[in-house]
Amino acid sequence: MSVKNNISTKYFVWIAVLAIAILAGLFTTYKVLTNGLGLYSANDVIVWTLPLASYAFFSLMSAGLAMVASIPIVFGIDRYLPLVKRAVVLSLAALVAALLSTFLELGTPWHIVAYFISPNPRSSLWWLGVLYLLQFVFLVTFFVKSTNGKYNKVISLIVFLLAIAIASTLGSTFGFVEARSVYYGPFIPVYFLLTAFLTGLAVFMLTTLIFYQITKADFVEEVKTLYDELGKAFSIILGLSLIFFVWMTVTGLYAYSPEYNSIKHVFGSLPYQFALWLGLVVPLTMMIIPVIRQSRWGKVVSTALVVLGTLTISNIIIELGMTVPPGPRITQFPELAAPSYTVWEWLVFVFALAVALLIYTLGERYFELEGSAE
């Protein structure tokens, strides 16, 4: 089902939209590199805001998509092989988006070379850098091989393990922070791993279904069954995510100590309620009702909600650890107010998203991503 000959005005419009977003992003880059991160709403107490949440979001997405791409080969589930090519491209696209978000999240990104000449293996942040580099190399290799129709078991195993490592190591950057009780512990590494897989599945299904919609492809019976199966797997992961999220909330609300109890400040907020209901409960409900799960719109809506939910949840978790300012900082930020992101931060996210979409679009356009079972 090649689309090489199916160039339409819709495509040009789409590329134009992405181009505008990318230009805005380049301008943002210029502004940030010359003026500093003060353009964002962050400060010495709320240290990380949307750009970091954007990075975490895309990073988890990439890891999850890498799992989607590698699981069929690693576990020998042949009927899922057609998914691999697209999943790899999506994973790469998301990884680039993550790295782009990082670039604009760092105060002095050109010092990144210090990662190589002054490494710190004690730091999970250092490991993340190494893992991203490896993942990038292996994903590209994976992709090249897959376009030649070759699925290498070793490479896909490495990609799979890297994906697990990335998602949980990203979690550990918070999980190893003893100073902030809301972060510390194994919960975030595990939850991020789960969320990665959830988001990977969601993005894969969402993208594919939208692609089918745009190309007016036939949703043949075997594809329908495959996606329904995916939908079931998705519901299970979603169910687990909901359980994790609920327990995270309850343990926080139950606590007396202000630090552990800090979730009460976000509990009533719109983002939190969105994340819980529209990001988890509603999609799960939709996915366990067979008639909705089997419908295309049902899958599109619920996966879209889950994707938005992941972005929101990344944001919330990062914010939670910073709501109780440590030591003397309490006087700087005594009023706990949700930061209102500046336009530059939104542009960072939009920039990263546009680049990811561009990579995927070009991949879809110039390579046959719609694979067939072999």
Binding site: T108, W110, H111, V113, A114, I117, S118, T331
Partner: protein, 858 residues
């Protein structure tokens, strides 16, 4: 017995020196990262060459000078690197403050480099004057500025109107008489108006009329066993903040401390007792304490004396016969008891003061038991009130009861110094000057309603704030030419809008200032002045730790801008211009200030400034005329050291030899009686009439003893339910530091305050009552004015009061001090809402227990 303030860290510093002989200290961080990336370099490997030159990295030198951020007047050193003064510390050669430095001193550095400093003389081009009239200053040359001023003065001379010239003195050094006294008199005017009455002058009333010393005091706290502070916050303000901060840890080892203050000050935060008194009731507490001390038999017998038969007859309500008590170094104790103290029980005081009976009794007994090493520290609080003279007397008199006057661990005056005054002016007064000088002063001191009994004489003390009314009402006459130097009465004096009117009325106003302040807004000519700490010569005297110092202000760096020194160079330059116009008396007078070393007369302004300083301090640095204290081998050594220290304090020398009418410490003040009678006689009336006119309650003999006067608050309690408690931030450099970002950033070091805010502090009970939350923008309104600021609810405030620091609310001065220069103030100026009331017996302005306010949300 006096302890030099120890620097515990001297021990620590020497430890570092004596440690390992050679070591590499900081490791090289990363290879070539600095070069390749082009960012700042990392710590470098350093081997230490210890013994030879441990200070090899020192790039500058510490040069002596003095800080006048407050009236502690610490001797300081400024660290100068490449001609820039970058930091300050206490002068280790000072026996008063040593190397210790309070926090506000550091703000002198950004103050010096303030971009809003006036860099050139300016003249007004907008002929209209008013709060909302931008002067539209344009730069002019020094010649043009001085010539304009000289012309105006000559005009007055030519018309026989020299008494319509006025000199207002603000922040001074002891070079002040050159401009404040000599210039004013030789021109021929009585109107040299100082700022003392808006400082804490009424504090001196009590000490004068009990022990004969019209002075601020030093307190021998390191040897005290009880320190009771009345409206004083020595850790933040009042006098010798650096010294008292340095020894307070020692004080707390040996002494109990207590603070009487409606708000929880920095000193109160560290004390054993906080007595959150109702504003204006200090006198009640003081006399009740005296009552307890006497009834409990705790007075100090070697100083005060005892009952002839040794049996204590002081009992509540009981009159005592004077002959039954034999006083030693005091006078009038029994009279005092009979007239005032016998009924003033703690129970009576508890109701008035709002303090628990047990606390009053406990503090009185603990204080008495600590005699004679028990200090009553009289701050501005009880004194600078409408009836504060008696508050000052009552609180200070307690020192007499416990024998801590002039005693170890007690209240002391300043040690003797050997500075001398400038050459006399009489020979330079012509007929015009003699005539002009004889007019009445514009501040109306000595008139019936303003006895201003400084040092026992009617009208001897200034009534600064009343000069505004004198000008407005042209009583005794109009003012045509006014020069103000380093003052800002349009900000620093109560009921500021009167000064707007007064200054608008004066046809020609000159301001010698560093920054264009509220006063400058009404000026016709602005002369930019040098910064006191880094750019000029001068000296001041200050005392603590049982010593007095004469500390030099020296120019440690070159002047940044085209500025000259207010008290010395500018008067000389003006004198030259006057001489060019045929009036050379002033210049010839200044030329008599010869260099004591060479005998040479000054030829220019710079020489004049230096010779004048050398003359005034001659007996300190010249071994040939040395009389006491530190000895130097000459001027250069004195200049390099920066400070001369007096001989140690002569304890108890004044026992029985006080400068009072009786020569004794007077509980019944014959001295005050004499002064009041003198004033009454001058106005052909009775003392009672004077007291009535001046709004005191005492009549008859009560007038001559420390007694309780009810507070005289302005405004009806129903309409204005809260009493304003004004206080001074520990970051205030008088009113001048608000234009530094450090002041704003650090503002929350004052207990209960916020950074970048000017908060009015309310007890949460009042917050609830008036519907105010922390962070609300509010208005405080009094009978005479209003201000806008931010509310803060804080437990360290007495309910029924609102505490707010003075220092902000500038609408001029600079870009940080004002929110919009010339237009909108940052915060609110307390003086906008404090009515112009006075403690008339001392002439002082009343800042405390004066304004009642109400709060409104904006």
């Amino acid at each position: 017995m006096m302890k030099k303030p120890e620097n515990r860290n001297e021990a620590a510093a020497s430890e570092l020196k004596s440690g390992v002989s050679r070591r590499s200290f900081l490791k090289l961080a990363g290879v070539g990262t600095g070069a390749t990336i082009g960012a700042m370099s990392a710590f470098k490997l350093r081997s230490l060459a210890l013994a030879e030159n441990p200070k090899s990295a020192a790039m500058g030198e510490w040069l002596p000078t003095t800080c006048q951020g407050c009236t502690s007047w610490c001797s300081k050193q400024a660290y100068v690197v490449n001609g820039r003064a970058i930091k300050v510390r206490g002068n280790p050669n000072s026996k008063v403050n040593g190397v210790a430095s309070c926090v506000r001193a550091h703000l002198g550095v950004p103050q010096m480099y303030d971009p809003d400093r006036v860099k050139t003389p300016m003249k007004r081009t907008n002929p209209n004057k008013g709060r909302n009239e931008d002067p539209q200053f344009v730069p002019i040359s020094w010649d043009e500025a001085l010539e304009t001023i000289a012309d105006k003065i000559m005009e007055l001379r030519d018309n026989g109107e020299t008494h319509k010239y006025m000199l207002m003195r603000g922040r001074y050094t002891y070079m002040r008489d050159i401009i404040y006294d000599r210039m004013t008199k030789i021109i021929g005017s009585p109107n040299n108006i100082s700022h003392s009455a808006i400082c804490a002058e009424a504090e001196k009333f009590g000490p004068y009329y009990t022990e004969g010393e019209w002075t601020y005091r030093q307190y021998d706290v390191v040897n005290a066993n009880y320190v009771l502070m009345w409206g004083a916050d020595p850790l933040s303000a009042n006098r010798q903040v650096s010294y008292y901060n340095s020894v307070w840890g020692d004080v707390l080892e040996n002494a109990k401390t207590a603070v009487v203050d409606p708000r929880l000050s920095a000193s109160a935060a560290k004390s054993d007792e906080w007595l959150p008194i109702k504003p204006g009731q200090d006198g009640a507490l003081a006399v009740a304490m005296a009552h307890v001390i006497l009834t409990e038999g705790l007075w100090y017998k070697p100083f005060v004396g005892d009952f002839v038969d040794g049996v204590n007859q002081f009992a509540p309500g009981k009159t005592v016969r004077e002959e039954d008590f034999e006083e030693i170094h005091t006078s009038g104790l029994v009279k005092w008891w009979n007239l005032e103290l016998k009924d003033k029980t703690p129970e009576w005081a508890a109701e008035l003061t709002g303090l628990p009976v047990e606390q009053i009794r406990r503090v009185a007994i603990d204080y008495g038991k600590a005699a004679p090493h028990a200090i009553c520290w009289v701050g501005g609080g009880p004194a600078m009130q409408p009836r504060g003279a008696y508050g000052s007397m009552a609180t200070h008199a307690l020192n007499g009861l416990v024998g801590s006057v002039d005693n170890v661990g007690g209240t002391l005056k300043a040690n003797k110094v050997y500075t001398q005054s400038f050459p006399g002016y009489e020979d330079y007064l012509d007929e015009i000057a003699k005539e002009g000088k004889s007019h009445k002063k514009i501040d109306q001191r000595g008139t019936k309603a303003f006895p201003s009994l400084k040092k026992g004489k009617s009208g001897k003390g200034v009534v600064t704030n009343n000069a505004a009314d004198g000008i407005i009402n042209e009583d005794p006459n109009e003012i045509k030419v006014a020069i103000g130097y380093m003052n800002n009465f349009a900000f620093s004096a109560p009921q500021t809008e009167r000064w707007y009117r007064a200054l608008s009325k004066i046809p020609f106003v000159v301001h010698l200032t560093t920054n264009a302040s509220e006063f400058t807004w009404f000026a016709d000519i602005v002369l930019p002045a040098t910064h006191h700490m880094f750019e000029k010569y001068g000296y001041v005297k200050s005392f603590a730790n049982g010593y007095r110092q004469v500390t030099l202000l020296t120019p440690v760096v070159d002047r940044i801008w085209d500025t000259y020194t207010d008290e010395t160079e500018i008067p000389w330059m003006l004198a030259e211009k006057l001489a060019e116009r045929g009036f050379d008396n002033l210049l010839r007078h200044y030329q008599s200030y010869k260099d004591p070393e060479t005998g040479q007369a000054p030829a220019n302004a710079q020489e004049f400034a230096l010779y004048a300083l050398k003359h005034a301090t001659h007996k300190l640095w010249d071994p040939a005329v040395h009389e006491g204290g530190d000895k130097f081998n000459g001027w250069e050594e004195f200049l390099a050291t920066g400070v001369w220290n007096s001989d140690p304090y002569p304890f108890k020398k004044r026992w029985g030899a006080m400068k009072t009418e009786t020569g004794l410490f007077e509980f019944y003040s014959e001295t005050l009686k004499h002064a009041l009678e003198g004033h009454a006689e001058k106005h052909e009336t009775t003392v009672d009439d004077i007291l009535k006119t001046c709004n005191y309650q005492a009549r008859g003999e009560m007038a001559f003893i420390p007694h309780y006067e009810e507070p005289a608050l302005a405004g009806d309690e129903g309409e204005y339910p809260l009493v304003l408690v004004d206080y001074k931030s520990k970051l205030n450099r008088e009113g001048r530091s608000a234009n530094t970002s450090w002041y704003q950033e650090l503002r929350d070091v004052d207990p209960g305050c916020e950074a970048w805010e000017d908060v009015a502090q309310f007890n949460p009970i009042d917050g609830k009552k008036f519907g105010i939350q922390s962070g609300d923008k509010i208005k405080l309104v009094s009978v005479t004015g209003k201000l806008e600021c931010t509310a803060k609810l804080w437990e360290g405030v007495r309910p029924g009061t609102v505490a707010k620091a003075y220092g902000q609310g500038h609408w001029a001065y600079g870009r940080i001090a004002a929110e919009k220069f010339g237009k909108k103030p940052r915060g609110g100026n307390n003086n906008d809402i404090i009515p112009a009331d006075y403690d008339r017996l001392s002439g002082s302005s009343a800042f405390y227990a004066n304004a009642r306010v109400r709060v409104e949300k904006i």
